[in-house]
Amino acid sequence: MQRRGFLKRAGMLATGIAAGGLPYGIARLTAPPGQHDPRRHVRLPGALKDEAAFAAACIGCGLCGEVCPPRCIRFHRSDGGGALNTPYIDPQRKACILCGKCMEVCPTEALSVTPRDEIDMGIAQIDRSACYPWVDQGICGACVSICPLGERAIGFKMWNQYRPVVKKACVGCGLCVEVCPHPSLPIRIVERSQGTVTRHSI
């Protein structure tokens, strides 16, 4: 009799877990295919660098999103891009303005208050085989004029005024990605170790 009770209870537990997980599975299966490349998502300013540590620290309260003035912070819901309800920024749609409100409001150690120059969300990388000025298809300079850090982070190559070059002080806020007029987005935010120059020549 006792064993049957135990089996019944275990069955109930299994059913409960399955029923609890069902909505997440359904939402995952019915999620629309993302038009936006998850490889271009970045974590927030001041976020823990280690992805696993960040997922463990974040409680998914959404406070960072709720104070963000440009509303650039999004949350992993059913896209499968990261731990559920953790925040990210898709600079292609809306980029961070480095105001620092999210770092101040975060109740956990997921985001820690960092001075603006020491933020490390990555670094901008320019595909010189696509960027308009770099392939001599006109003059642009949108990325240079929008950059909140100014000359220290991005500037023009000396001998051609309109070819942008990313410098070491870039913190990876992604405003340049947001304003880039080229449809293939030759500028993107990557890990600092990957460097600032690339040639994809697709």
Partner: protein, 332 residues
């Protein structure tokens, strides 16, 4: 009958109305705050002319609502932010104890600044027990409305199951949730905890467009309550409720039966959402001090008392028939 005239004058029975007011205010705030945030982003963008007509309408409404309180919406309206899971109240950071516990389990380390944010909720729980469940939790409002719907459906003749399970099941859910959080390295308990779900789903729906999977989960819990067990999720499954029950086991403020005034009508047992047994002094750690039994008691025989434990069964109420029979037997 003399005792009935010596009632304490404090209107305990109206606390339930205050509770409904509190629940409604919390829910209204949770709905309003995402709109406030959207309005703030419009203000910060300095581009009223570029807004779509619907956005302009939202801007105007929010401006009308908030202008009495602030001259600088982009900065001042940050004073109240967040949800009941974790929030900011005029510079005071508050978090759900379960958030801290879940995070500690997921990261396998303690983060002390966050512990500070849960001190006030924990202290309040140690005094008032599971009051969060009855007085603040936004899910409770919906679950109680769901209970009313259930009563109406029952009255109309629909079958609404009322199965009873083991109350201790939710402690298992809490333990399993924390262990799974530790194993997966993310705060999994947040995904099955209705107040956290409601807060962020409302934010997602208003500010980011579209509900997430949490809404589906919450609807499932509503159906569970409706078709399987009355208030079943709170009573048997909620991990946060389990944590609050444990913290509030030796709460100071608890409802007790005044046996001299009780007439054994059992309305308290019928009205108790958590299926407790106030009539026989059976409150226990699950009681969330919701005061529904106080409000319904016709003889004001239930009141708040400062005790650390429940009174043992005090026998039948002195105004009841059973007690009179006992007395008659004794006299004979």
């Amino acid at each position: 009958m003399t005792t009935a005239n010596q009632k304490p004058s404090f209107p305990w029975r109206h606390l339930n109305k205050l509770r409904w007011l509190t629940l409604s205010v919390v829910m209204a705030m949770l709905v309003l705050l995402p709109f406030v945030h959207v309005y703030q982003t419009y203000v910060a963008a300095h581009a009223y002319d570029l807004l779509a007509p619907a956005e302009k309408r939202l801007y105007d409404v929010m401006e009308t609502l908030t202008s009495p309180f602030t001259g600088d919406p982009a900065a001042d309206l940050d004073a109240i932010k967040g949800t009941v899971w974790s929030g900011n109240l005029f510079g005071l950071k508050l978090s759900d104890p379960l958030a801290w516990l879940g995070q500690a389990a997921a990261g396998l380390e303690l983060y002390w600044p966050m512990l500070v944010t849960v001190l006030i909720p924990v202290a309040a729980t140690l005094v008032f027990g599971r009051f969060f469940c009855g007085w603040i939790c936004p899910a409770t409002l919906l679950y109680e409305l769901n209970s009313n719907l259930r009563a109406w459906l029952h009255w109309l003749g629909f079958k609404t199951g009322n199965r009873r399970f083991d109350r201790r099941f939710k402690y298992l859910v809490l333990a399993v949730g924390l262990v799974l959080s530790a194993l997966t390295g993310s705060v999994l308990v947040a995904a099955v905890y209705p107040p956290a779900i409601i807060g962020r789903e409302l934010y997602y729906a208003v500010a980011l467009g579209g509900f997430g999977a949490g809404t589906l989960f919450f609807v499932l819990t509503l159906l569970f309550d409706l078709l399987v067990a009355r208030r079943g999720f709170c009573r048997y499954l909620c991990p946060g409720g389990a944590l609050y029950s444990l913290l509030g086991r030796y709460r100071l403020v608890r409802i007790q039966r005044v046996v001299e005034d009780c007439n054994d009508c059992a309305k308290c047992n019928a009205v108790c959402e958590f299926g407790l047994d106030p009539l026989r002094d059976g409150f226990g750690q699950e009681c969330n001090n919701c005061t529904a039994c106080i409000a319904v008691c016709p003889t004001d025989a239930l009141a708040f008392r400062l005790r650390v434990t429940d009174a043992p069964y005090q026998g039948p109420g002195h105004l009841g028939r059973q007690y009179r029979k006992q007395q008659a037997k004794k006299a004979a």
